[in-house]
């Protein structure tokens, strides 16, 4: 998945990849990655749960807009089947959860450097 993202991004198209296994996401170093700790085959969530699927897509768009540099992995904090999702009122503003996780990812990256 990450390898595909790298190849496509090299052709001049912005990519955001979802990842279900964080360890692999770290290894492949894709341009922008959102990591979710959800079961295989459920990258967008549970079947027929529109708000959950929209939440993931909303964060994908936020990632495309806001990721400041390549190789960043943002862990979305939504627990599997234990989260209540509300309809998204403003698609142009980022979700609080995403902003928090983005800040944390940037902080961790800085600490590593």
């Amino acid at each position: 998945m990450g390898l595909l993202a790298r190849e496509i991004e090299a052709c001049g198209v912005t990519t955001v990849a979802l990842a279900l296994v964080r360890e692999l996401a770290v290894m492949v170093k894709a341009p922008r990655m959102l990591s979710l700790h959800w079961p295989f085959g459920h990258a967008l969530g549970e079947p027929d749960k529109r708000d959950q699927q929209y939440t993931v897509l909303h964060d994908v768009f936020s990632m495309a807009r806001l990721a400041p540099r390549p190789g960043l992995i943002v862990d979305l904090p939504y627990p599997w089947k234990r989260q209540i999702y509300t309809p998204i009122s403003d698609w142009t503003a980022e979700s609080q959860a995403f902003l928090q996780e983005l800040a944390q990812a940037l902080q961790e990256e800085q600490a590593r450097v």
């Binding site: 595909l4 198209v13 170093k29 967008l44 027929d48």
Partner: protein, 214 residues
């Protein structure tokens, strides 16, 4: 009724399974004819049972995660596929409300009318037009539990959700063509088709690609 035994009548279905030239010395396992009612390639009952455990039981889910992590990690490591620090980068050209968005899935999604993927390993891709409804799409993949994905294909291929967002004006345009990949054993095989898809997407003036794993 998810299983079809070899030789069992499944109705007038589709073309013979493809012969994949990229198979390196491994015994080729033919994809059985697609079950029309369930729209996924049937696999052996034991494999199906194991895959369902990864979805039905918490320990099954943990095991599947661990297994995916270890096998995927080993593959990447053994093949020295740890990419260099230079990561390609293309900033988003225009706001989402004006952008063209496409989806790439590795969940084995393809048009039922198209050639199915080779189950063991297949690095080729299939084009999926935006006009295809979920009834037109099938899944050929035997490495995840596909029941939920078939109930709601948006879990691995969120085309309907994107079309809804396009109608509301949140997304500029949904691309005319999207792409589906199957299961690939050797990640190196994905590099050439990935580049090809990238070129096709760039030609179609796509601004943002969402990559959805299985």
């Amino acid at each position: 009724m998810y299983f079809i035994k070899p030789g069992q009548e499944v109705g007038a279905i589709r073309a013979e399974s493809p012969v994949n030239s990229s198979l390196r010395g491994c015994t080729q396992r033919k994809a059985l004819a697609m079950n029309k009612q369930t729209r996924f390639t049937p696999t052996s009952p034991w494999r199906e049972r194991l895959l369902r455990l990864s979805n039905d039981a918490a320990w099954g889910e943990h095991f599947a995660y661990w297994f995916g992590k270890v096998t995927g990690g080993l593959q990447l490591r053994l093949e020295k596929l740890r990419p260099s620090s230079e990561i390609p980068w293309t900033p988003l050209r225009r706001p989402i409300a004006q952008a063209t968005v496409a989806i790439i899935t590795t969940g084995g999604v393809h048009l039922c009318a198209d050639r199915p993927f080779e189950l063991r390993t297949d690095a080729s891709f299939r084009a999926i037009p935006r006009s295809s409804s979920s009834a037109d799409l099938c899944i050929t993949h035997e490495h995840y539990d596909r029941r939920d994905a078939l109930r709601d294909l948006n879990l691995v291929f969120p085309l309907e959700r994107l079309l809804e967002l396009e109608a509301e004006g949140i997304v500029g345009r949904v691309a005319d063509v999207h792409y589906g990949f199957g299961f690939t054993q050797d990640p190196r095989d994905l590099l050439a088709p990935g580049r090809k898809v990238g070129r096709l997407l760039a030609q179609a003036q796509v601004d943002l690609v969402i990559l959805v794993p299985a």
